[in-house]
Structure formats: structure tokens, C-alpha cells
Amino acid sequence: MKTKFASMLSLCLASLIASSAFAEQVNVYSSRKEALIKPLLDRFSEQTGIQVNLITGKDDALISRLRKEGKKSPADVLVTADVGRLYRAKAQQLLQPHGSDIVTQSVPAKYRDEDGQWLGLTMRARPIFYVKGKVDPAQLSSYENLADPKWQGQICIRSSSNIYNQSLIASMLEAEGDQATMAFAKGLVANMARSPVGGDTDQLRAATAGVCNIAIANTYYFGRLANSDKPADQQVVNALAVFWPNQDDRGTHVNISGIGITQSARNKTEAVKLIEFMLTAESQAWYSQVNNEYPVVNDAAPSATLQSWGQFKADAVNLSKLGERNQQAVRLMDKAGWK
């Protein structure tokens, strides 16, 4: 028993030391969950022989760890699940330009930083979902429209602590200004069917259960239900339909998951290789299939599930703006009484 324990311990230590002994490696800090990045990283290692070391965690915790570790941080790249955090990492001077032409050519400008410090890997939209038969889609138009008293007691949306809601409000602040956004937030709070509870999937389920008729959620949650074979999930998918808001003006709010090379990177060449690998048609298709996210690369096609919801016009705002206005958005939601 003792020797077993000792060998286990030495194994742990060895793996720690080993991570610095390999010639070709890249160290990843990721707020994407292990299940949604590890398979792709494994494939990258297989193809290139570059070893990938991974730590997953919450975005801000990883950013704070990066900042504390400073110039000596072992991390080479930071992967996050929203643009706000990439903006924050850049603002704290934790990132450096990738300098890759492939990135510049294949990723649209609105999905990458103008200084080349971060770029989107996948895109997700935050449309409106409504209960078929209970809501006339002709009555729906924009996010702003949801503040109309006619929707009183009919809307499900999660807490304002959630970054996707913060980004949505930030995009509105950018487009409509402070007063209009405040009016929207107050109207929305007044129309909520219940105090915000649970995640995006919970809002979709609640709409199906009759709690509300309208829910706001990210596309990949709905996509996951669509691809599930559980009867309860299929029930949700059959009851709801996607509505793309703001098609007549700025477009539906979108966000990205993205990546940036850290200031401290010691394996920059490998890091760039990893980024370019994530942008290949194969990787983009993988994300689209496995997690129902839209490709950011111009010529890659979304999965069949995503295509079944139709084309939509995405908000053209440069995503950096969402990061810039995040704090303002949080305060506004606090003031509006959005729990």
C-alpha cells in the first residue's frame, strides 16, 4: 500500500516535471470545459506531435492566475468561452499579437481583435425562443420589443450574473445608448414570468412546461436538446421555435468563444500552430457537430441542426465593444432590478 502510494505520488511529480521536459509542447489555460476542448487538442497532438498541457477553469480565475504569474506564467494560450474575458485579458496586458496571416485571412474582422491579440474560434447567437401556437411570431420583432407590456408575465431569462446577458445588454448599450437600454431592462424585468432561475436550458424547459411563452437562450443549448434522444428533450424542441430578433436593424446578438496567445508564452510557434489548427475546416466542423456552434471561418459550413433554423443577420458590432461596456451593463442591470 505504502509503495503504491509512493509510486502514485512520484507519478504525479514526474508528470509535473515532465511538462517542462518535452521539446515541443504548448500549455493551454482554458475556460472551455475539458469535454469541449480535450478531444480536439488530442487530435492536434496526434497530427503534429506537439504535446498539449491543459488546465481548465473559470475565465476570470484563469485570467487572475495569469496576471499573478506574470512574465513567468507557464501558459502559452488562453481559451475563453466569451469575448468579454478576452477583452479583459487584453486590457490587463496579458496577451500578445499572434502575427498569423492565416488568422487574418480566414476570420472576419469583427470576430478578432484589431491588434491581433485575440480571435474567435466559434460563434453562438442568442435568439428568442417562443412556444409554437401560443405566440404569434408576427408579434415578435426585436429584443427591445420584449419590454412591451403585452408580454407581461411571459418571459423567461436567466440571471444578470450571466456573461451572455451582460454581453447582450452591452451590445444594446453600444447600439441604443444608456436610456433606451435602461428602459428595455426595466420593461423586461416587469415582463418576467418569474425571478431568474437556472441556466439557459432551464428557460427553454420552463417555456415548454408552461411557465412562460418566450425564452432567451444561446443557440447551442437548443441544439443540444435537438440532438438528444431523450423524450423530455425532444418535447422541448418540438414545442419551441427560434425567432431571430432585430433583423431589420443591427441584427441578432452574437458572441464568440476565442483564444489569445499570452504575453508570457515560451512556445509561441506551437501556440500559433494550435490556433491555426483550431481554424481548419475539420476543427470548425467538429465544434459545429459536437457543440452546435457556428463556424467563424468564412468558408466552413454549420452543422445540419444549425442550418435547419435558417439564416440570420448577426449584429455587426465589433465584439471588443462588448468587453468595453461590460461593467456598465452589470451596473445597469443591478439598477433595473434584474436579479
Binding site: M8, C12, K33, I55, S64, K68, G70, K72
Partner: protein, 540 residues
């Protein structure tokens, strides 16, 4: 006597190191006045305060009701299946609060199976009927009480067990009736332990993030996360954490104050034991129900649900559960050993050299439990990276070697964080065990020519064994369940069961969180059972 002053100096050093992350947070809080604070004060601070207080009051009542009667019944009475029941009661300890919250939310929410069944069965639609709202303060109180009462139960039971049965016998011989006996003798004697248990439960309550966040209740902890994530403001975050610290200090103070003037030491002749009170007739099933309801709600229903979820998930093929389980177990074992050893040193220092500065440092060193894991992790990482940077700089100046970071980003950092965070648990258990060993015993033994080490070996170790084991058990299981610090501080390619379960649940894949949660519960149960046997081993 010189050995003892070396001990107190050494323990002062250890306590100082343990206190540094907390001190760093205090420094952060004081270093700059943030205008975010003004915004919080105007908007959400009232909610934080009200909900946090409500939560603490509720959990105090809940854990007392669930933990104390069952502890007394199992320690002092005898009824059929008492032995089995007495370990079933502690099983909820292996359940992380956030997992229980996910389960009950999944079962009871408006689109869950129970409400669906009601709607189908009675052809109702949502809003036509009343149903308990699990996403409420009351719901959070229930969930937290259900997983935290074992702290009260364990500490109370080991106190009831250590109590002189003969003392009860004396009370009975003197004509004090059965019921008064509990309130006049058993409860007052066990009070330090019960209070320590409630204090642990309350600290865990205040640092809980997963449950309240999932139920949408704004408390200080969710506020801390929000300030950190939403505003990215470290000093306002630290200031909110300070409020938690002050609350804990007040609790400590109240508990100490209420104990003032009382001494809780066991009588001599510890070997002698009386037979437990035999319960008969209708009281038997009542005692059994009283002891079985807590584990039923806190363990069996959640585990059954997780199994049902797990069966429907393909997560079993996705993750390597052997590796995850080994990582979790090794981490928890190391943390338990380290923490208990340090706690023993600290407790002896206080016992042998009870000067105010030793007491104070031990107090500060063991305050980390009330801080959310994230805050502890921020403190630890700030401290260790600062140490690392000066180390690296020194090396490159002296030897011209350019090295990476040494300590931060390794298991050492993680273990340090656990020691900071869980020291309270170990110190609480061990010092309440120590309090029942009368100082005169030490004096007599020393007079009889025993060396201090002999006193420890021959008297303290046998008497302290239950509380030391309790301490190790609680730390082990707490580390298995621990999430925020593990998430932030762990090294590359090192995943644990709690991290995997959290990632699935936070990705809104509750069914896929089932498998890791089940394995986590299993990894927690086995040591719980083993240690439970050795704690209760004195009497069969």
C-alpha cells in the same frame, strides 16, 4: 519546559504562514477604497445581508434539528439497528451541497418529473396549483442543512460518547428523570462540540457558492463572485469578503462568551463505561425514523436520482474515472494528513502555552474556512507567485539561471490552500477533544515522572484518537468535494471528480454530471465508513 516554548514559536511560524493568504485579502480590502462599493450599497447590499442572515439562522436551526437528536440517540441509547443507522446518518457528508441542489432542482422545478406528473395526472397547467418553490431561501436552507448536519452529528456524537456514562448514571441515581437528564447533563456537556459543529456548518454555509448561485439567491458569496467577475474589482471583492470574516469573528466571540466560566473536562477513570439506555415500545420506531429521515433526504434520494441520470448518460465512456478517482483520493489524503498534523501542533501550542499571541495567530490561521474557496485561492496564488518571483529573480541574479515558477502551479499550492481553508475543521475537532482531557491529568502524570512525550503517547493519543480521526475524515471528504480552489490552483493535466462533475453541470448537462458525482460520492463514502468504525470502535 524549553521544548514547549520551541513548540509555541514553531506553531507561531506555521500559523503565520497559514494566516498570510487571509492577511493578504485584508490588505487588499484596506488598500484602496473602491467606488464599486457605493454602487453595491445603493443596489444589492441589503439583499446580500438579509439573505445571508436568513441562510445562517435557517441552517443553524436545520442542522441542530437534524444532527443533535440523532447524535444523542445513537450515542446514548440502544434500539434495533442502532449500529447500522449510526453510520447511515453521516452519509450525506459525502454529498457536495451543489450536487444535492442540482438534484432537488431537477426533481422539483417546474419542468421536473414531479410537477410534470402532477400536471398530467390532474390535467392542470402551470400556475393552477401550489407547489413548493425549491429555488428560494427556504430551499437553500433545506439543501445546506441536509448536507451540513453531519458536522453537528459527528462532533456531538463523539462528545456524547466521550462523556462519562457514569455521569449520566449519577444523575439518574440522584433521581433526575430521563428527559431532564438530557437537558441538564448531556446537552450542556456536549455544548462545545455542538457549537463547534454548528460553527463549521455556518462557515460552510457562508462560503457556499454553488447552491445559492444555482437557486438564484443573492448572498455575500454570490456578491463576491459577481463583484469579481462582473466588475473585475479585486479590492471591492476583498471588502465583501471582509464582511464575511467579521461575521465569523462575531460568531467565534459569541460562542466563546457563552462558554465563559465553564470548564468541560472529563472525569477520571475513562475506561469504565455504562451500558446505553435501552429504548422500548413505540419509542423504538420513533428513534429509528428520527435517525433515518436525515440520510434519506440528504443521501439516498439524491444518490438514487444521480444513478438514474447516470444510466442515461454516455459520460461513462467519455472520461477516465479511474484516473479522476485516483487524483481526487491522493489529493484528499495528502491534504488530510498535512492539515491534521499542523492542527495538532497548533492545538498543543495553545494548550501548553496559552499566551494571547499564540491563541490569536491560531485563530487567524484557522479562519480560512469562512472564506469562499475562490478568495482563499486568490490569497494563496498571490502569496506563492510573489515568493516564486523573488526566488526566480534571486536565482537569475546569483546563478544566471532563467527558470519558470517553482511552487505556484504545483500540487504544493493546492495543498497549501486546503490547509488554509480547512484548518478550522481540524483545529475545531481536535481542540474540543483536547478540552475534555483535564489539565490535571497532565500534571499528575508529569509529577509521576512521565516526560511530556510519554504523556502524549500514553494519555493523549488514546484519548484524542476519536477527535483526530474525525478531523482527518472531515478534511478528506471536504477536499474530495472541494471545487473553487481545486479549479483555480490545480496543475496542468490534473483533473478531479469534483471538477469534472462541475464542468458537466455548469454546462447544463445534469445527466452527464451524474457519473462523476456518483464516483465522487463513492470515493467520499469509503473513508467515511472506515473512520466511522474506528471512532465508534470503543463500544460495540
Amino acid at each position: 519546559m524549553r521544548r514547549f516554548s520551541a513548540l509555541s514559536l514553531g506553531s507561531f511560524g506555521i500559523a503565520a504562514i497559514l494566516a498570510m493568504p487571509t492577511l493578504f485579502i485584508i490588505y487588499l480590502a484596506l488598500s484602496s477604497s473602491s467606488e464599486v462599493w457605493g454602487h453595491l450599497y445603493q443596489t444589492v447590499l441589503g439583499d446580500y445581508l438579509g439573505n445571508s442572515i436568513g441562510l445562517m439562522v435557517g441552517v443553524t436551526i436545520g442542522t441542530l434539528l437534524l444532527g443533535v437528536p440523532s447524535a444523542w440517540l445513537c450515542a446514548c441509547c440502544d434500539f434495533p439497528f442502532r449500529k447500522t443507522i449510526s453510520w447511515l446518518i453521516i452519509l450525506p457528508m459525502a454529498m457536495p451541497a451543489y450536487i444535492v441542489a442540482y438534484v432537488y432542482s431537477g426533481l422539483l422545478n417546474d419542468s421536473g418529473p414531479i410537477q410534470r406528473w402532477i400536471r398530467q395526472q390532474f390535467e392542470l397547467s402551470y400556475g393552477d396549483y401550489w407547489f413548493v418553490d425549491i429555488h428560494s431561501l427556504g430551499g437553500a436552507v433545506c439543501v445546506l442543512s441536509l448536507v451540513l448536519y453531519p458536522y453537528v452529528y459527528l462532533l456531538a456524537r463523539s462528545a456524547f460518547l466521550q462523556q462519562r456514562h457514569q455521569l449520566n448514571a449519577v444523575a439518574r441515581t440522584l433521581g433526575s428523570p430521563f428527559s431532564r437528564n438530557i437537558f441538564k447533563v448531556a446537552l450542556p456537556l456536549a455544548r462545545p462540540a455542538i457549537a463547534a459543529g454548528v460553527l463549521l456548518a455556518l462557515m460552510e454555509t457562508m462560503s457556499d457558492y454553488g447552491t445559492v448561485q444555482y437557486f438564484g439567491i443573492a448572498t455575500f458569496t454570490t456578491g463576491i463572485f459577481r463583484t469579481y467577475y462582473g466588475f473585475g474589482d479585486e479590492s471591492a471583492t476583498a471588502q465583501l469578503a471582509m464582511v464575511l470574516l467579521v461575521v465569523v469573528l462575531v460568531l467565534y466571540g459569541l460562542e466563546k462568551q457563552s462558554r465563559k466560566g465553564m470548564a468541560f473536562h472529563a472525569l477520571e477513570d475513562s475506561k469504565q463505561q455504562s451500558t446505553p439506555l435501552l429504548i422500548s415500545g413505540w419509542r423504538q420506531p420513533l428513534a429509528q425514523i428520527c435517525c433515518l429521515v436525515p440520510p434519506l433526504l440528504g443521501f439516498f434520494i439524491p444518490v438514487l436520482t444521480l444513478i438514474l441520470w447516470g444510466v442515461e448518460s454516455d459520460e461513462w465512456q467519455q472520461a477516465s474515472f479511474v484516473e479522476l478517482a485516483i487524483n481526487s483520493t491522493v489529493l484528499a489524503s495528502l491534504a488530510a494528513i498535512l492539515t491534521v498534523c499542523i492542527a495538532l501542533i497548533l492545538c498543543y501550542a495553545v494548550r501548553l502555552q496559552p499566551s494571547w499571541w499564540v491563541k490569536l495567530t491560531v485563530q487567524i490561521a484557522s479562519i480560512g474556512y469562512a472564506l469562499p474557496g475562490t478568495i482563499v485561492a486568490i490569497g494563496v496564488i498571490s502569496l506563492l507567485t510573489a515568493v516564486d518571483h523573488s526566488l526566480v529573480e534571486g536565482l537569475s541574479q546569483l546563478l544566471g539561471v532563467d527558470s519558470g515558477l517553482w511552487v505556484s502551479g504545483t500540487l504544493v499550492a493546492l495543498l497549501f490552500a486546503f490547509a488554509v481553508r480547512f484548518m478550522t475543521v481540524a483545529v475545531g475537532s481536535i481542540s474540543s477533544g483536547m478540552a475534555t482531557i483535564k489539565p490535571h491529568i497532565d500534571d499528575s502524570a508529569r509529577l509521576l515522572g512521565r516526560t511530556p512525550w510519554q504523556v502524549i503517547r500514553q494519555i493523549h493519543i488514546p484519548l484524542l484518537r476519536p477527535s483526530v480521526l474525525t478531523a482527518a475524515l472531515i478534511v478528506f471528504v471536504d477536499v474530495i468535494k472541494e471545487l473553487p480552489a481545486t479549479l483555480i490552483l490545480r496543475p496542468f493535466n490534473f483533473n478531479t471528480l469534483s471538477v469534472r462533475a462541475y464542468e458537466m453541470a455548469s454546462d447544463e448537462r445534469l445527466y452527464d454530471a451524474g457519473p462523476s458525482a456518483i464516483v465522487m460520492v463513492l470515493a467520499g463514502i469509503i473513508p467515511v465508513l472506515v473512520l466511522n468504525r474506528s471512532i465508534g470502535g470503543g463500544r460495540s
